[in-house]
């Protein structure tokens, strides 16, 4: 999975959890949770959604790496053995 795939996956997964949320509204420094007003259930559903799509089992201790859009993308690319770009 490359960075574009990861971004697309993040977008579609978020859309299922928070249809009103728009990834484009999230600045590079903002956390997804605050920018999109996600609660802990949403965050868990996001992780579950990413897991279902990629098969990657994301341990709780890795959650902090998923707080921003870029963090999520980088994590997914690395976890799926994709090209280390972007």
């Amino acid at each position: 999975m490359n960075a574009d795939d990861a971004r697309t996956l993040l977008r579609t997964t978020l859309h299922q959890i928070a249809p009103e949320a728009d990834l484009d509204d999230v600045g590079p420094d903002e956390t997804l949770q605050e920018a999109l007003d996600l609660d802990s259930i949403d965050v868990l559903n996001l992780v579950v959604g990413l897991h279902d799509a990629t098969g990657v089992d994301i341990p709780e201790r890795d959650y902090p790496q998923l707080t921003t859009v870029e963090g999520c993308v980088a994590y997914l690319v690395a976890a799926t053995g994709g090209p280390a770009t972007s």
Binding site: I17, A18, P19, E20, A21, Q33, D37, L38, D39, S40, I41, D42, L44, N45, V47, V48, H51, D52, D57, I58, P59, E60
Partner: protein
Amino acid sequence: MGAFTMPSLGADMDAGTVTRWLVAPGDAVHRGDVVAVVDTEKSEIEVEVFEDGVVEELVVPEGVEVPVGTVLATIAAGRRDESGGGGTPAPETAAVPAPPPPTSAPPPPGPGVPGVTAGAAIGAGEGADRVHSPVVRRLAADLGVDLGSVAGTGPGGTVTRSDVEAAARLAPPATSAPPAPPAPASPPVPARAPVPVAPAPHAGPARARSSPYARRLAAGAGVHVGALVGSGPGGAVVAEDVIAALASGGAAPQAPASPAGPAAPPAGPAAPVAPAAPSTESTSREDRAARLRRAIGNLMSRSKREIPHYYLATTVDLSSARTWLDEVNASRPVTDRLVMGTLLLAAAARAVAAVPEVNGSYQDGVFTPSPSVHLGVAISLRTGGVLAPAIHDADTKSVDELMAALSDLVKRARGGVLRGTELADATLTVTNLGDLGVDEVQGVIFPPQVALVGYGRVSERPMVAGGQVVARTAVTVTLAADHRVSDGHRGGRYLAEIDRLLQRPEDL
């Protein structure tokens, strides 16, 4: 025969609209089946049926707003089905009693004579069940005719199909000038203006008939019903036609006489073509947010007006709960993990056993404790507003079951489809604002409930343990409770019980 009525989905609901029927006449239904989707001020709700049987007739068509208690459909207890069975639309002609020759009938009683004004099919009126045939009632509903204002020429003064058609012709929807009068804000009580009976076919201008709901929709959108092609019975314009017209972009107000120019006001120099077709979706979404806000306002005003609230707060050490949760989650695949919120819900539900006075309803001066705990969970909608659907029997569910129920509920609340019983029957509500970083909540009770539990942020804070100040994971729990039912002493006992339960998370 049973009647399936518009349910009250909360203390603040007085009307609803069936947006979709999920069953047809002839379908077998069982208690608990979802048979319709109802649009309320709050949300789209899936409504369940409470008996077994066969759907006999759908009395209220899709798209018509009716008061709570209105018969929406009739359900026959057995398999037998008299008219229009087999799932097909009723063969209308067959079931209509032929109007007797005018001469043989007793002089038609004037409008308003008791026994004839059986009440409209829409807007309630049990008498209608007995007096008019289902087909006639359906036709009247479709054509927007108030049966109560039509004098019948049938046997015993019943209203026949031709009476309804005649009345519909006599009282066409406003076809001139401004489309339909401004819609009344309250549930549509069919116009009571008595319509004289015209046994002979009326030769008046056969303008488009339309359903009341279609007219209101059209009025709201500035569309002229007369300019639309109806797809309803007898060419009547129904709500779907209005919605289709809006969606197709030909929605700009149309003059009936000039169907030519689709939506382009030639004048208005810089005027962007009138916000022509505001997508119905976004419009209804805005509407819903506004209506939800009003519904919440009404309910909370009532709460503050009627309920003598008292408030308590305590801080609960969650160190053991945190440790337990981390261990459990570490050993579980991502799909089976728990969130702290689930433990907090479990504790609130289980603690009821020690202090039942916080669980139930207060109505007409009487508190009725509930034998089960249907735990309402306040869920904020990102479009604005809050819903508090219930997790049924939360006190007997395992933490895993609660987690699944919570996750499902959050998804559906935000997706906009909840079950009727979920919104109607919570016996105690929990609000958890911790994810927003709020330290504590002073809640407002949802009437007719008698208590609301509030959880703030779960965070590390300085606490004293063993004579030393140490950092502990903790949460502030609050209780807003009804003084007509309990006192601070009992409320405090309830919070203490929550604390005790959260110290032994493995037992939850």
